[in-house]
Symmetry: C2
DNA sequence: TGTTGTGAACCCTTTCACAGCA
DNA sequence: TGCTGTGAAAGGGTTCACAACA
């Protein structure tokens, strides 16, 4: 797997531990010299951001940790801990300013600049992703859609024209893509991953049901529906077994 | 949290209902009332299963924990620990029998019976899921595909005909679906979730970018590409910042 | 000999309780 | 008074080293 930071270089922009440094108020939005957000916490930030964005759309200006936690499906101490890794952006006795907090989370996630995404594979899945409204809306722009099938190359999908995957390297260079999504059959995923890495892509979202091998400095995340269903099956079978055992116990 | 839960004994699967069960020896694949697999471990079992299935297809009969771990992208102590929660299915000095081990993992996950899946939403994503080969092959059968759009209702997708979501309850009953996949816009996801729960569905895989609220006995898992991309963005931005800091340090 | 299975140490995550502050 | 921010405790997960054993 190409994650596991493992190395803690201490390059973390000086050591402003913020430990009691109340003078340092809110840092100017921008460079956001954040320090290492724990992975478990990082996984939840996008959820908070989405909830906050929805609240913003509803005209809600302030929110308490209880309310936000409720809407995000976590408990409030966990939420506050998570937010504390970013900084102290709330007001005691009051709560959080929705607009300000969502801005801070966006900054922490690196969404202040727009990421240029190439989608490799233009089957139903690739098209669904290309058309996904959540993409374009916030921080991500789909700049290329590629496929190997001569029948679909050249077709238009939304604003995009499907490019031949043969010219992957040229397309990546021309579009200056800095992220890639793999929505291709499992058999060709590793090969395409290699080509992406060779072209300098270091962030890959993989929908193919294979474990990709890549250098450690390449970040790969996997989305896999079969895996998710199998985990659901485990729980379902388990509670089913419990019900049967219970019934047997009662009948005894 | 007052569960008695005796500190785990030696073996993982004890409590056979004792109905004419053999004594020692390999347990008959079956109801395996297994004992609580830790969530973190559970998340990895599908990966192992997939790798093993691939090996089986390649005619590989035996595998060591090192080889399997390598292929699954984890380290070998972790793999062995994970497998130990299921039982002792390896042979010391030799390794694991690929066919046997994959059978045991399948059983542990509850894939011995076929789960009947209803897919709600027949857009590109829903169709991609309905046509996903990994579904039918591995313990899951798509038994219904539903949509709200009158223009697509009645269309055929593979073996399926798209049903009107208005008759969701009737379709679930007729097809005896016991799992559901939500591939619908965020705005209608909670409403459909409620209807699924009302109809007795307790396992839901949610692709809509919302946090669904449901009773505790309903298992919900979420798949969300926007979330995944945002996490990738964090890492990308971070290593970018590190490179810049490094360059500044060298220039100093 | 070679590899599995596992207690124990270590590390990360979550929870709790309350100090700190508007 | 009310809600945030955070040390400290509790709870899991991962790693390690090695005992067990074909």
């Amino acid at each position: 797997m190409a994650s596991e930071d493992a190395r803690s270089r201490r390059t973390a922009l000086e050591r402003d531990t913020g430990n009691g440094s109340k003078s340092a108020g809110a840092p100017p939005a921008g460079a956001a010299a954040q320090r290492h957000i724990p992975p478990a916490s990082l996984d939840r930030l996008p959820v908070y951001l989405r909830v906050l964005t929805a609240m913003l759309g509803d005209g809600i200006e302030r929110v308490s940790s209880d309310e936000l936690a409720e809407a995000a499906g976590v408990n409030s101490p966990k939420l506050r801990k998570d937010l504390s890794y970013l900084g102290s952006y709330g007001t005691r006795g009051v709560g959080y300013d929705v607009a300000y907090l969502s801005g801070q989370i966006s900054a922490a996630l690196g969404l202040t600049l727009t990421w240029r995404v190439a989608i490799v594979g233009a089957g139903n899945l690739g098209r669904a992703l290309a058309g996904y409204p959540g993409f374009g809306s916030r921080g991500f722009e789909v700049v290329a859609l590629l496929d190997a099938d001569p029948m679909v190359i050249g077709q238009e999908v939304g604003w995009l024209r499907i490019s031949p995957v043969d010219s992957l390297e040229a397309v990546l260079a021309k579009t200056r893509a800095n992220m890639a999504v793999l929505a291709v059959p499992a058999e060709v995923a590793q090969d395409l991953c290699d080509r992406l890495v060779e072209s300098g892509i270091t962030s890959i979202l993989n929908f193919a049901p294979v474990v990709l091998q890549a250098p450690d400095d390449v970040q790969i995340r996997k989305v896999d529906m079969a895996t998710e269903l199998q985990i659901l099956a485990y729980h379902a079978q388990r509670s089913q077994a419990l019900r049967i055992a219970e019934r047997a116990r009662l009948a005894r």
